[in-house]
């Protein structure tokens, strides 16, 4: 054996040893995304979804705030299945990460629980039974069972009750794009949600509803409108602005226009822009607003030119238009309703206060307010339901839920309805994926709740 030979063997061995290490150090640590739970940043992410609910379209079509100008399928109930996935994966999973976090402080957890209740209520009001107690558990449960709406509602109310006591005014709450870190406002919003949830159960479980309603009011509800502020940039613009960047799909409906015009309601001038043809024709006042006929076929709708109708007003359609999340007016109407139910308070006083708050909120000319109240005074639950409907604009899902519970104001279903019953939907069908990916639980929910369509009434929608 000579030295050369040894050298060659050494080279060969070295080459082979290249393939023998298995320690890669930090190579598989993702440098692009953080791995720590940063509660403030997660809270911001979740609260951005408030805008998606406040500016949602479908509910606002069902209650006929808006009419589609061309593709009228959704106003004719042509879509049955709506996907809830993004609510779970976007705001709720972020909020659950805060709630489950070992490092998040009490303020973040309390705010996360309140925001979770806000989203969950909207969801159960749309789909009814939903995964709740078994939801948001990631790999621990990829097939969560559906809870009844009663379990969900009562669970949310319990959670809200506990959450509002959890705040610590001496500790910080950052990333709060809704209340700027004001924990008192958070607690008031939590109580308000609890109040509204309790009232929604008034038909199905009156005594529970009254107890929770009374406790929520006593704990202190909002005294200022909860608004979601949009910014003057495309990434955080009002959804009503974004929808109109390239398209013109939604106009104020003729239902809304004729109801409000008949009552001389000047809020309509804020809800809608003047129709160009009406301006040309020299119309004035409420006649400047021309509603788009609701629920007609695409062909008929398409033949109504854009200049003949009124699009949503600048109050919601500017890039930075704030959108109401829950308003003082709505609180007053809830109180008026509670008075009618005999839970205390004076219905007429709350009715007047509600209308006044709503006119103020929209900046409608206050000179005409007294005349409006005189012409349209409190009469009965129907008058409350009507004002509640007008005041909730443009919060479609909230208004739709209240309309289903109160069965008022009377709305005529789309004349060219596409669904089998041809009635206004009272529910949304589950996403298609659930029937395959969570089949057993989906089938159990359908068995318990009724057909998975638009016409199955929810638990609280008892009469």
């Amino acid at each position: 054996m000579n030295i050369m030979k040894t050298k060659h063997y050494t080279i060969a061995l070295l080459l082979l040893f290249i393939g023998c290490t298995d320690d890669f150090g930090d190579m598989n640590v993702d440098p692009n995304n953080p791995s720590d739970v940063l509660s403030d940043l997660l809270l911001t992410s979740a609260l951005k979804s408030v805008s998606s609910n406040a500016g949602a379209v479908t509910g606002a079509l069902y209650v006929q705030y808006f009419a589609e100008t061309q593709y009228t399928e959704d106003s004719r109930y042509g879509t049955e299945q709506f996907d809830f996935t993004s609510w779970y994966t976007s705001p709720l999973s972020d909020l659950q990460a805060i709630i489950d976090s070992e490092t998040a402080t009490a303020n973040y957890k309390a705010a996360a629980r309140i925001a979770k209740a806000y989203f969950m209520q909207m969801m159960t009001d749309r789909w009814g039974m939903l995964p709740y107690t078994e939801a948001l558990k990631g790999a621990d449960n990829f097939q969560p069972a559906y809870d009844t709406q009663e379990v969900i509602y009562k669970g949310l109310i319990t959670d809200l009750t506990a959450a509002v006591t959890q705040f610590d005014a001496n500790s910080s709450l950052n990333g709060d794009i809704l209340f700027g870190g004001d924990v008192t406002k958070w607690a008031e919003w939590g109580n308000t949600l609890r109040m509204a949830m309790a009232l929604r159960l008034s038909d199905i479980d009156a005594s529970y509803a009254q107890t929770e309603y009374t406790a929520a009011i006593a704990a202190g509800v909002i005294s200022a409108d909860v608004m979601y502020s949009h910014l003057g940039e495309d990434a955080n613009a009002s959804p009503w602005y974004t929808r109109f960047i390239t398209r013109t799909d939604y106009a104020i409906s003729n239902t809304m226009d004729s109801a409000m015009t008949a009552k001389g309601d000047l809020r309509l001038l804020k809800y809608a822009d003047s129709a160009p043809d009406a301006v040309t024709a020299g119309a004035t006042g409420l006649d400047l607003i021309v509603g788009m006929t609701y629920g007609i076929s695409n062909g008929d709708a398409g033949d109504i030119p854009n200049q003949a109708i009124s699009f949503p007003g600048a109050a919601i359609r500017s890039q930075d238009s704030p959108l109401p999340v829950y308003t003082v007016a709505q609180v007053h109407f809830c109180k008026a309703e509670a008075a009618v139910l005999g839970w205390g308070g004076d219905a007429a006083t709350e009715y007047d206060a509600g209308v006044t708050a709503s006119w103020t909120q929209w900046g409608a000319s206050s000179d005409s307010l007294a005349g409006y109240l005189a012409a349209n005074p409190y009469a009965d639950i129907e008058s409350i339901a009507y004002e509640k409907w007008v005041a909730a604009f443009p919060s479609g899902y909230e208004a739709w839920a209240e309309w289903r519970r109160l069965d008022s104001p009377a709305l005529t279903p789309a004349s060219d309805a596409q669904n089998t019953s041809r009635q206004i939907p009272v529910r949304h069908a589950y996403p298609q994926t659930e029937s395959e990916l969570n089949a057993d639980n989906y089938n159990a929910a359908v068995t318990a709740q009724g057909a998975d369509g638009l016409d199955t009434k929810l638990w609280w929608d008892a009469n």
Binding site: I11, P31, L41, L42, T89, G138, F142, R422
Partner: protein, 823 residues
């Protein structure tokens, strides 16, 4: 050198009877300039349910704009024209594609060195206006023997691809997709020549889809020419790959090899949305870089012992891949219209950077044995250790074993000139992408100065393990009658176990997908090829070959407790699933509710079919695929023809869905059973116009589409339904109606060639010359739905299967001329 020209192969069958709009009745408008009233179409509509194209005089969209659209130097405002069909308007949009390829290769060497340099350039202008692709390749291979034992080799390849105006594809891309418009949302009477004039002298932008006679801004669509000339995407890819290796011949039997292989590319993509169009103007630039290095060392031992040849190999490899990307795009528009630069962003630009690294260490060995011409065997074993897997599971070993026996060497069988059996089993282990193990939070769009961070939608998995694919294959090759008849058959089974996929889960879990090692998928298949030479002579020959393949893929198990995997979601609720115990690729969506007797149920309240959600419609995979080819030669001429076919399979057609919905395709016109145009109003026996009527109650002059089925109780029923309601309500979100059978037979290629006899080349610098003319996509001989090319239904998101079709670049027929010279 090759030059080819490309033209459209298949377009949908458009209707040429009705113009744009939503109703057949004429609308009118008063022109403020002359106070006269004119017939107008509903320009804002992007459907074709409008008036009959019967020559009625009207004002086209461009007659409401002060501009010269006809090219005669005169303002065309106020022009009235006759409403007449434009049968070829879509065809007129396209250019003839032209492609030229030049390639040159030089080679040479000495007893100690070898050298080869090749150059290729290809310039192509696509059928979509303003689209071009430029490819340049340069390759160099060289080797040099430094000593009698030491040889070094080098290979360097450089490839540059520049794309300009690559066409958009799919449904509703923001830059606009002319194909989507033509086949799904358009007005059939439009004259394409007028649409070329999309820009006025003052910079105003015009479109056929104007909102009204006084507001000429587009409602849904820019002019298709605006799209291709203003929303221009550009890309530039530079790839360099090659290797350097050193071989050391230690002795007659043993060689040591060391090699470094590099593969790196830079890819820059720029996107634009033109100023003045429908969309907010926009500019973005994305830069991606990938760098993969491999360092390999091997020792190869070979020895021949009489008729036995032995070869052994052992080696190791280290692979390192680094990928980075950098994206920046404007937000909220461009502050200076037409200035496509990040500096012009109105809002804070959106930016992101990404970096990933991965390394794999490998060791491998291989042993080959040859026994004369009779028997060959190969055994290999490999171990990989990957940085992308969790430390505890990052090492995996796999093997292969293959055998072949030429039995015709062993026994002589009459007529059999060659016979071979082959059998192999092989396993391949694989890892995953980097960063699939640990949960991290995704950076979201900030709200003002508040940053946001979100839980990801895909749940990573700290327990991932390597996946294993096992393939078993048996084959037989036979040649008979002096090789005039040949036969090759293969059966195979491929089992994928622990495949790392992002398995779809119920969104209520908080995640849409979870990374898992998913159970077991089995694919079994058969491939058969029969070929022969029926004619063979001194000057001529005819070869034919036929091949046929079938395969079946089944999902055996997924993850624990999970039975369904959502593969893809097309548009409007048509999903693709892989469910346990079923064939892979099941389409699920909304269909027609059927009675026990199998008939479709009609709702007497609507005169239309009742639909049902969540129905399964069977697999997308074909039952069989194959082809047939003939090659004939006579003296210096040769001719070849290639056919291919698919049996079974299906895909979801957006062209069908929206072509019907918007009244653009030929199946929305014609007569009904009463002999009246189906677009005519439905009329009941009282002579009233209604939305639908029971067929027995229809007036003899009633229009409408005949809907036949049963009522809920199973009794037969039929209705005449208004055509627009039929098209809109039956086809919107109705997967079942829009599934198209994937079967087809296509004449794929025809080729004529001529070898220039050497006697004509004497005295030239050319030693050989060949001329060939090739036609690709000669004819679609059969397909389920005329006008829809099943071979364009390949939107499989890169996964290689056909699932849906719509808004894709139409297939083209190319005629090419090839000249091959040897010097």
């Amino acid at each position: 050198m090759t030059t080819s020209s490309e033209d459209l192969f298949i377009l949908p069958e458009y209707q040429n009877e009705y113009a744009g709009g939503y109703a057949q009745s004429w609308a009118t408008a008063v022109d403020a300039e002359d106070g006269q009233t004119y017939n107008i179409l509903n320009y804002a509509a992007d459907e074709s349910w409008g008036p009959k194209m019967d020559g009625t005089m009207y004002r086209p969209w461009w007659s409401w704009i002060h501009h010269d659209f006809t090219g005669d130097g005169v303002d065309d405002y106020g022009t009235e024209i006759a409403l007449s069909p434009q049968k070829d308007n879509v065809k007129d949009f396209f250019d003839t594609g032209l492609s030229t390829t030049h390639s040159v290769a030089m080679e040479g060497g000495s007893d100690r060195s070898a050298y080869r340099l090749s150059l290729q350039t290809n310039n192509a202008n696509g059928v979509i206006p303003n689209s071009s692709l430029e490819k340049n390749n340069l390759g160099f291979n060289g080797s040099l023997s430094l000593t009698s034992k030491l040889t070094s080799s080098v290979s360097v390849n450089y490839a540059k691809v520049r794309g300009h105006g690559r066409p958009a594809s799919g449904y509703s891309p923001s830059q606009g997709n002319p194909l989507q418009s033509f086949n799904q949302w358009f007005q059939r009477q439009l004259d394409m020549e007028k649409l070329r004039e999309y820009k006025g002298d003052d910079g105003s932008i015009y479109s056929w889809n104007s909102r009204s006679t006084t507001d000429t801004r587009p409602l849904y669509w820019d002019s298709p020419f605006f799209t291709v000339y203003e929303n221009v995407a550009e890309d530039d890819r530079n790839r360099l790959f090659g290797n350097f290796s050193v071989d050391y011949q230690y002795n007659d039997n043993l060689v040591f090899k060391g090699a470094v292989r590099a593969d790196m590319y830079d890819f820059v993509v720029e996107d634009r949305l033109g100023s003045g169009g429908l969309e907010t103007d926009f500019y973005s630039m994305q830069k991606r870089s990938n760098n993969e290095m491999n360092y390999e060392g091997t020792a190869v031992y070979s020895q021949n012992l009489g008729t036995i040849a032995l070869k052994g190999l052992i080696g190791g490899n280290y692979m390192k891949r680094t990928y980075t990307s950098n994206y920046s795009g404007t937000s909220g528009g461009l502050s200076l219209p037409g200035f496509y630069n990040l500096d012009a962003s109105v809002d804070r630009p959106s930016v992101s950077t990404f970096r990933s690294e991965k390394a794999v260490n490998s060791m491998f060995g291989q042993l080959s044995l040859g026994f004369g011409q009779l028997y060959y065997a190969d055994v290999s074993l490999r171990n990989d250790v990957s940085s992308a897997l969790p430390d505890a599971n990052n090492s995996y070993t796999y093997y292969s074993l293959s055998n072949s026996l030429v039995f015709s060497e062993l026994v002589k069988i009459p007529f059999l000139s060659f016979g071979k059996f082959r059998a192999s089993v092989a396993q391949v282990g694989s890892d995953t992408d980097p960063y699939n193990v640990n949960l991290t939070y995704g950076v979201g769009t900030p709200y003002g100065s508040s940053a946001s961070l979100a839980v990801p939608n895909t749940l990573p998995n700290p327990d991932l393990k390597p996946s294993v694919s096992s393939d078993t294959e048996f084959g037989v090759e036979l040649a008979m009658l002096d090789n005039r008849l040949r036969f090759d058959a293969t059966v195979y089974t491929s089992v994928k176990e622990d495949e790392i996929i992002d398995l779809s889960v119920s969104g209520a879990s908080g995640y849409t997908t979870s990374l898992v090692n998913a159970g077991k998928f089995t694919t079994t298949g058969t491939e058969l090829q029969i070929s022969g030479t029926p004619l063979l002579g001194k000057d001529y020959s005819v070869d034919v070959s036929w091949n046929y393949a079938t395969s079946n893929s089944e999902v055996n198990e997924l993850a624990e407790g999970l039975e369904a995997r959502s593969l893809f979601r097309a548009y409007w609720g048509t999903y693709l699933y892989a469910n346990v115990g079923e064939e892979w690729g099941i389409i699920q969506g909304t269909g027609y509710q059927k009675h026990e007797n199998g008939e479709r149920i009609i709702n007497p309240e609507t005169g239309n079919y009742v639909h049902e959600n969540n129905m399964e419609f069977g697999s997308v995979l074909p039952d069989a695929t194959g082809g047939f080819r003939v090659d004939a030669k006579y003296k210096n001429f040769d001719v070849g023809a290639v056919f291919d076919f698919q049996q079974g399979g299906q895909f979801y057609s957006l062209t069908r869905q929206w072509g019907l919905y918007s009244g653009m395709t030929s199946n929305t016109v014609g007569d009904n059973k009463l002999g009246n145009p189906l677009r005519d109003p439905v009329i009941n026996s009282a002579g009233e116009e209604v939305g639908f009527v029971e067929s027995s109650q229809a007036a003899s002059n009633s229009g409408g589409v005949l809907i036949e089925g049963v009522l809920e109780d199973g009794t037969a029923a039929s209705y005449y339904l208004d055509a627009v309601s039929w098209a809109a309500n039956s086809y919107y979100k109705r997967s079942e109606e829009n599934l198209v059978d994937g079967s087809y037979t296509r004449f794929r290629e025809l080729r004529f060639g001529y070898n220039v006899p050497s006697k004509y080349l004497k005295g030239m610098f050319v030693s050989a010359a060949n001329i060939a003319v090739t036609v690709r996509n000669v004819a679609m001989l059969s397909s389920a739905e005329e006008g829809i090319d099943p071979t364009t239904a390949s939107n499989g998101h890169g996964s290689g299967f056909s699932y849906w079709e719509g808004g894709v670049l139409p297939s083209t027929r190319a005629v090419s001329l090839n000249l091959n010279l040897k010097f």
